[in-house]
Symmetry: C2
Subunit: 384 residues, 2 copies
């Protein structure tokens, strides 16, 4: 497999950081760069995992918001389709050829419902449900536009966000979906977000074991009423091996595994070592743009080039310099040996990949020191 | 003055949150909305301040990255021109008609220098300097393109970022600029970033008094060598009254005052009250999209709709609900009285306006409950 794309007419400037064929060192900073070899290796590993388990992988596009990467995950990574979080993301990705989309979220606004339903003319659209009135509104819009929308009832697995309690509340919603015109009950969405980032393996596993038990009971309850779950979906990069090996979930929804980030690399495996099946393929490439003090260098990647919600970025591949703090446009790098020079470039592992990607317009794919592709962040800013 | 613009052909969807003339309550969320009455009042107040002092206001566009707002600040707010932070920002803003631009930052990459110098064909371009080699590179590029670039020597006033120490180091750089071909020495940049956010009035004032003293000494040193400072620039929304009343600074560079944010509103005036000369005009408009627990509502503005670096957003205009925490796409709202309903919309005061604006593509200007204008975030993502 090979990640080359065909767009070659870019002029660096404004929001375009590179040209195809350019040497890596000439990329305009700050920019998001992808190490394509590692990126492809991560995708192969996930592909092999799901093949071995006989389950599906519905790759989560909320991480990268890129049509190119979504299509790559389907064509070369065995993904059955994608997840995304918003109608506007789905609009952008369907427009670029994605055909099987789960919006792993609620869509309750009437105008957004109309747009969602319109998308079902062009792609398989699946949506999450946690409210009765929402079922009526979706059904009425789908009937008007003569399409069928597939619905998953979302269980709140402990994140305290969307979703209903497992068991009876799921059954009640599922029944209502089943009788609603132009909707079909397709199963359950059961994603435990916060568990993804629990450091300790056994603590993480215990959270998911508990969820699996609740999901199992709920499926049984539904089956007793004649309601089959075509999709039992959930899981992320931190817990996918638990849900994926459960014989209960049949669709896992990992996103961050393609890139990884500083926060995800703090979680531990069974032996207490940092997890290693996926490696960092995504970096914020940044230049030293001021160095007036011997032990401190200033780089050009600040708050607008990343999200700090999960902590500071980590300098990749060198332990002599450290990213200390940042302001809107600047990062402060501790350089105790005065080893950085003006215009030197370094790679930062972002603290949290998803919102960091949403700050940028382009991914610059690099292999063997050269720019091989430029992929737009297709659904950047599309939060509606 | 009136902030109406002439663009009226928008279709809501993808990244477009509103149409001109739409009722405020129909704006697609999450979206950045501007209360135009308050926005204009903030701009009038700053305009009156500088008029009264006989100084210039070079409005900082890094806050809003909007050509429409920059032009409005010049046409209706008495601004002499703008500041921005990056060459690509300047490219985007000059392309939209801005003619007098200070990049209040260093540009040291040779490719960026060429682009910076090219802009000087179309606008007055001023740049900050803290390195000798950078002077040579700028001079050589400006000579080749037959333009003159104005240079300010940047003083590190205590932010620990870019800039040199006051006094002799400034003089040495100024001398080198003076003899460099196609550069002109225009003065000093002395912005104390962290002081902007110091809560206590007297502590904040003491920091700036100290800076003013250093700047005064440095100006004297330069004058003794025959070097005049056409521009003595700096100051932000937290400290502008000190620099602006100093009789030393002649250009202040406020940005956030047009919008304000939750962090800026924590700083205190002389009497220990929250500062009140500028009011919140910018909000993240967000909808309740899930409410399965009686005391917790979930809204659709999470990490991708804002930056949390300076803390959580604050719900505007109601004390019965509180923004508790957020994840990528969701905000968790404490709703102890169960007063929020599905699809209710609330306004959030962003924790930090600058990087929050950089997450969005549009400002939706609202007056009397109707959408009056849609302004693109012209230089969004332009960090190069």
């Amino acid at each position: 497999m090979n990640a080359v794309n065909k767009n070659t007419n870019f002029v660096v400037g404004l929001n375009i950081p590179a040209e195809i064929g350019m040497e890596e060192k000439d990329i305009c900073t700050p920019a998001l760069i992808i190490d394509l070899d590692v990126f492809e290796k991560n995708i192969r590993r996930m592909s092999n995992f799901v093949k071995g388990k006989g389950i599906r992988h519905r790759a989560h596009a909320k991480t990268h918001k890129s049509a190119d990467i979504s299509l790559f995950q389907i064509e070369h990574g065995g993904a059955c389709g994608i997840c995304c979080q918003k109608v506007s993301e789905a609009e952008a990705l369907v427009a670029k050829g994605l055909k099987d989309v789960l919006i792993s979220n609620q869509v309750v606004d009437l105008y957004k419902i109309d747009r969602l339903v319109a998308l079902a003319q062009r792609a398989r659209i699946i949506i999450c449900i946690d409210d009765f009135k929402n079922i009526e509104n979706l059904s009425s819009a789908a009937e008007k536009q003569k399409v069928v929308i597939e619905c998953l009832v979302e269980i709140d697995c402990g994140a305290g966000r969307c979703g209903v309690e497992p068991g009876e509340p799921v059954l009640e919603l599922a029944k209502k979906i089943t009788v609603a015109k132009n909707l079909s009950f397709s199963g359950i969405q059961a994603y435990q977000g916060p568990a993804q980032h629990i450091r300790d393996f056994y603590e993480r596993k215990a959270k998911i074991d508990n969820v699996i038990e609740e999901v199992t009971d709920t499926i049984e309850l539904l089956q007793n009423e004649g309601l089959e779950c075509k999709i039992v979906g959930g899981a992320g990069t931190g817990t996918y091996s638990f849900e994926g090996s459960s014989n209960v979930y049949n669709e896992i929804q990992c996103g961050s595994y393609v890139f990884m980030d500083a926060d995800y690399q703090k979680i531990l495996d069974e032996k207490g070592s940092f997890i290693s099946e996926f490696e960092n393929s995504l970096f914020i490439y940044t230049s030293i743009m001021s160095h007036t003090k011997p032990d401190v260098a200033i780089c050009d990647a600040g708050l607008k080039a990343q999200s700090l919600d999960s902590g500071l970025p980590v300098v990749f591949g060198r332990d002599d310099v450290t990213y200390l703090t940042c302001s809107d446009e600047h990062g402060v790098i501790s350089d105790p040996n005065n080893s950085l020079k003006l215009n030197d470039k370094i790679k930062l592992i972002p603290g949290h990949c998803d919102p960091t990607c949403n700050s940028h317009d382009w991914y610059v794919g690099v292999r063997n020191g050269r720019v091989e592709c430029l992929w737009p962040v297709t659904a950047r800013g599309m939060g509606f």
